[in-house]
């Protein structure tokens, strides 16, 4: 299988503080790849660099054989990379369905004549299509019956699901999930696990940050371990669990 995403010597410094140092990463198409590491290891910084929210200080990012290092977040999104956020970033005063519809922004026919000169009360043809597609996404994550509620009225677990549905609406090839099971009970975590498998079966590759080791070990085919901004190990769950450097990073040295 081909390489979907690759980073070469990716570094990020904030006013002298080195958040990420020379990270090489490659994600194969169709994989579920996890990034783990103690707090402050640079996991979320990595996500922000990949999705274009931050500009890297050094290094490059290649996605689908094209360099995306200096592209803006919306361009990267249109290329087929979507993400969720560690601290949920929904549009709270919009309905559940509208939240997902924003994810299909790039799929609208951009014809200003049609926007401004359509007859009163007539909807754009693409609008109906997009609503339908958004409802399919909501069905996929199990939020269909809550589609008319305001996003802010959803319970925490559903808000995470909604964020995933919204990201899926962009039809990504790669989905970045930043701690999708954070703050969830074991039952809800199981649900997230199921959802991730379902997304994978759609042929979408997943890059995942997660603290819940049970979840990571149970689902990730490849794991990258970051510590203090550097990659210290990479491999399968089994390899990682027995790596002395990883054990040291998590438990401290003897």
């Amino acid at each position: 299988m081909g390489i979907l995403l690759e980073t070469k010597l990716l570094s990020k410094r904030f006013n002298g503080f080195s958040a990420l140092r020379g990270v090489n990463l490659s994600i194969k198409a169709g994989d579920i790849h996890a990034v783990i590491g103690p707090n402050g290891a640079g996991k979320t910084t990595l996500f922000n660099l990949l999705s274009g929210v931050y500009r890297c200080t050094e290094g490059m990012i290649v996605f689908l054989d094209k360099e995306i290092t200096h592209l803006k977040p919306f361009q990267i999104s249109i290329m087929g990379m979507a993400r969720t956020f560690q601290n949920i970033c929904l549009f709270p005063q919009m309905t559940v369905c509208e939240n997902v519809m924003v994810g299909r922004h790039a799929y609208h026919e951009t014809n200003l004549f049609k926007v401004f000169l359509r007859p009163p009360f007539a909807k754009l043809a693409s609008e109906t299509k997009i609503r339908k597609r958004a409802e399919e996404m909501l069905d996929f994550v199990g939020l269909h019956e809550k589609r008319a509620q305001l996003a802010s009225s959803l319970p925490y677990g559903d808000q995470r699901r909604l964020e995933i549905a919204r990201a899926l609406a962009t039809e990504p090839k790669l989905l970045l999930l930043d701690e999708p099971a954070a703050g969830m009970n074991p039952y809800e975590t199981e649900g997230v696990l199921e959802l991730i498998r379902k997304i994978e079966s759609q042929g979408i590759s997943i890059l995942l940050i997660e603290h819940d080791m049970k979840l990571v070990m149970g689902i990730a085919r490849r794991i990258t371990v970051l510590n203090f901004g550097e990659k210290i190990a990479e491999g399968t769950a089994e390899e990682i669990q027995n790596d002395p450097k990883v054990i040291e990073a998590y438990l401290g040295s003897e």
């Binding site: 999705s51 274009g52 929210v53 803006k72 977040p73 919306f74 990267i76 999104s77 249109i78 979507a82 993400r83 956020f85 970033c89 929904l90 549009f91 709270p92 005063q93 919009m94 309905t95 369905c97 509208e98 519809m101 924003v102 994810g103 922004h105 790039a106 609208h108 926007v115 401004f116 359509r118 754009l124 693409s126 609008e127 997009i130 609503r131 409802e135 589609r147 008319a148 305001l150 919204r166 990201a167 609406a169 962009t170």
Partner: protein
């Protein structure tokens, strides 16, 4: 219609246009404290065109609106990086620069102001301009672009990672707001017949903010309602003379205490619709 009623209606119309000029950038969470400057640009340039070059008013009106809009786009780019209160301060600073420019520019009459402007603003052309603005804003808001604007307002980072070009939309809306202020300024100039730089200073900018906030900045119908009430209120209190501004102030205090979100809100219409037993729950109308 008595000339008095007509003049009140014209002022309500112009003030509504000015309220929209604050409302429009606000749809992407850009709070401008300097819309008076764009109004000034529209007023001075349209006046110069009709008085010095005898250009027909409709042409001068459109041209000065476009002019203000272009300046708005120029200001819109640095404004992208600045948020909230900081943007208010930045636009205030810009407005002061523009005000002093008109105060010192000999061509525009400097401290004497610009006079001998013909009375070309009528209720009809105010209504046409206002109608067009409402039409365009309504079309925009009821389309996918409106949803993108709302998303930017709620969380611009999330919107951008979902494929929304927030730079383009923010600059566009800032420019559009400036253009609307310019149109309002041109209509004002040809009704007031005399303008000087003090007409477009801090006080004017804040007045525009108040009209919009009072009516509500989450609904298209907020600005006209805010502008209408706040234009009529001091008129109705004319009999108490100087004291009327005290009541105007009290109204502000009461409003911000009991209904800070403005008189009209987006979800108010939404709730009214759903209470009518609208079954199609997936449709947020």
């Amino acid at each position: 219609m008595s000339p008095y009623t007509e003049s009140i209606l014209i002022f309500i119309g112009i003030n509504t246009i000015l309220a929209y000029s604050f409302y429009i950038p606000m749809t992407t969470n850009q709070i401008s404290g300097g819309q008076g400057a764009f109004m000034g640009i529209g007023a001075y340039f349209s006046a110069a065109m009709t008085v010095n070059y005898h250009i027909p008013f409709p042409v001068a009106l459109v041209a000065s609106g476009v002019m203000a809009g272009l300046v708005g786009v120029l200001v819109g780019f640095p404004a992208l990086r600045i948020r909230g209160l900081y943007l208010v301060i930045m636009t205030l600073g810009f407005a002061e620069v523009v005000r002093v420019f008109f105060l010192t520019s000999e061509y525009f009459g400097a401290a004497y102001g610009f006079s001998k402007i013909q009375e070309l603003t009528t209720l009809t052309n105010v209504a046409i301009v206002l109608g067009l603005i409402i039409f365009v804003v309504h079309r925009l808001e009821s389309s996918y672009l409106g949803r993108a604007l709302e998303a930017i307002k709620e969380n611009d980072l999330a919107a951008e990672t979902l494929g929304v070009n927030i730079t383009k939309l923010k600059v566009l809306m800032f420019g559009f707001g400036a253009m609307v202020a310019g149109l309002g300024g041109a209509l004002y100039a040809h009704y007031a017949l005399f303008i000087d730089s003090n007409n477009f200073g801090f006080h004017r900018s804040i007045e525009m903010v108040i009209f919009a906030i009072f009516g509500g900045v989450t609904s298209l119908w907020g600005p006209p309602i805010g502008a209408a009430i706040l234009t009529l209120f001091p008129e109705m209190l004319r009999f108490i003379q100087e004291w009327r501004m005290v009541f105007y102030g009290l109204l502000m205090i009461l409003m911000m205490t009991f209904r800070p979100q403005g008189l009209v809100t987006k979800n108010m219409f939404r709730n009214m619709l759903s209470r009518k037993g609208r079954q199609e729950v997936g449709d947020p109308a």
